[in-house]
Symmetry: C2
Subunit: 338 residues, 2 copies
């Protein structure tokens, strides 16, 4: 089969790879129906994370089950399935607590920009839909496997409540899905920080009530102006840089909450500043599995449409162009079809 | 009047100071009935915080109202009152949100080891008891003004829930009060980290079910052993050092919570470690005012007895001995009577 492999920063290739096989009895192999390029894929692509050796890429997927291991009973060949970028057995103590992305048997997916994918822990990871969803809902279901699940978790971690004010730092696909989540969880005011016209428009379409284009201290001051001088109840940090974290922490009101879902790169939180801020902080790889049934339902019923974050659709064999378009910010997010 | 003044590390003196006066219409002046030495007073005493110029000490107090400013209507001269170490107007947006220790008019108390004390924002800070409480409940009421209020907040910030497992890092007066709070909030298992015999005994008396004497990596491993290998639901960090914070964060389970109430000294939280831990973190100076009526009631009805953390009672003029005894760990906490 064919799939994407990164060889060095800036050097992603679409090449022949071994067909995936069942290795453990809890594995499944799926035929990819749609996959995509993630903002986090750009870290190694841009050389901001090391690429020590060539390795496959991609962790977002929807597909048709081809084969299952002997212990996989929740899905069967032929079913359409959605999973999470983090696999989970869904039975360990952490899974039972709702933290499937800290499953004791967790494996992070990393081979999904390909025709076929092996899903470890398939029994606890994959959720089948009723029948085969139509093409229209496909992008939304794909979004659920990571960016929508992650945006949702950001809002949950930031404790967005009905009637509250939420700020979303980051206008990438996750941030935009964070706007959807904040709205669904009842935020009355949603302040999206964005200076990029097409993203701003989508943020407003998704439910943002205010746009702040300023950054840094000016951005914080603008959020304070919009929130009676004290800051927002909830802040969703969807970037992962030190600047974004500072922005997030200082935009929250005393007693407010920051949910951070951008993988932190060289971020250190000053203990004394956090202390005196009274802000609660929780982050991590989203426990998407916890939210999957609910989010699949919201997509299939048309209540939310996170598939709109895909503003570029390419055949899988043009995956390299997907990386380029996102790197150059010509696209928010590229969907790939095998 | 007389009061404590720190001149340099190790040099606290009991000397003549000006009588406090009403300065603002929201002030009150109280005659101190009891005050005490706080663990945080030891930071400058030990030279771990600079002492740039001589200044009064003390931020814990119960007393009798002597005089009130024209805008103080909640208490009147002759009443017995309890307040917080952080004053608050109890009407600003932060106060209304329950974060009185982030009041927009907050002043931290710092003159309380004295015969008389001026209380800024008295209208939003002081709570009067019905009548004059007996001597037996006095230490408990004094504890409520800081250590018990702070231990309570640590447990609330760590989201202690009925049936949960809580770890308390730090066996000072705040940590011990944290054990009381965890028990009151329904923790089924309370693991106190302590290697100091008298404190261990008090922790058990207050409700600790397990004692861990190990520290650092060994302490973390021991907590994991006691919690099915995954860590505790809630951890109360009651010290303020980098080591204690590390201990706390690594003792919590994925999705668990750390409440930190020791003022952080050179603590930086690594963003990536916090991210992958899935642990929620919230700290700060306790919004004691939020809890005051409830905690006063729990003390007066005998439901809790945090006054036991005072294992040394001295006349106020021996305040210097109070500092020494605590510095040398001969006493957990010294109560001072003018």
């Amino acid at each position: 089969m064919r799939g994407a492999v990164i060889h060095a920063p800036g050097d992603v290739r679409f090449e022949e790879r071994d067909d995936p096989k069942i290795i453990h009895p809890t594995d499944a192999v799926i035929r990819t129906v749609a996959t995509c390029v993630c903002g986090s894929d750009l870290w190694p692509y841009r050389g901001l994370e090391p690429v020590d050796a060539p390795h496959p890429m991609g962790h977002e997927y929807v597909g048709i089950v081809e084969e299952v291991g002997s212990e996989v009973r929740n899905v069967r060949p032929g079913q359409f399935v959605v999973g999470s970028f983090a696999t989970s057995d869904n039975t360990c103590a952490n899974c039972l607590n709702g933290w499937q992305s800290s499953c004791l048997h967790r494996e992070f997916m990393s081979t999904c920009q390909a025709d076929y994918v092996r899903i470890p822990n398939a029994h606890g990871t994959l959720v089948a839909t009723d029948g085969h969803p139509d093409g229209e809902s496909m992008p939304g279901l794909l979004a659920v496997s990571d960016v929508m699940g992650t945006g949702w978790y950001a809002a949950v971690a930031a404790e967005v409540k009905p009637g509250s004010t939420a700020v979303v730092v980051g206008d990438g696909a996750v941030g935009l899905c964070g706007v959807i989540a904040a709205k669904e969880l009842g935020a009355e005011r949603i302040i999206a920080m964005s200076r990029h016209e097409p993203r701003r428009k989508l943020a407003v379409e998704f439910g943002a009530t205010d746009i702040v284009t300023e950054r840094g201290e000016e951005g914080i001051a603008r959020v304070k102006e919009l929130t009676d001088g004290i800051g927002a109840d909830s802040v969703l940090e969807c970037v992962g840089t030190a600047e974004a974290m500072r922005q997030a922490l200082r935009s929250a009101r005393p007693g407010g909450n920051v949910g951070f879902v951008g993988v932190p790169h060289e971020v250190a939180v000053d203990g004394q500043e956090l202390f005196f801020s009274h802000v609660g902080l929780r982050g991590g790889p989203a426990p998407v599995r916890r939210f999957l049934p609910d989010l699949i339902d919201r997509v299939l019923t048309g209540r939310i449409n996170p598939g709109k974050v895909f503003d570029l659709t390419l055949p899988l064999d043009q995956v390299v162009e997907g990386y380029k378009a996102m790197d150059e910010r010509r696209a928010i997010k590229a969907l790939l079809k095998p």
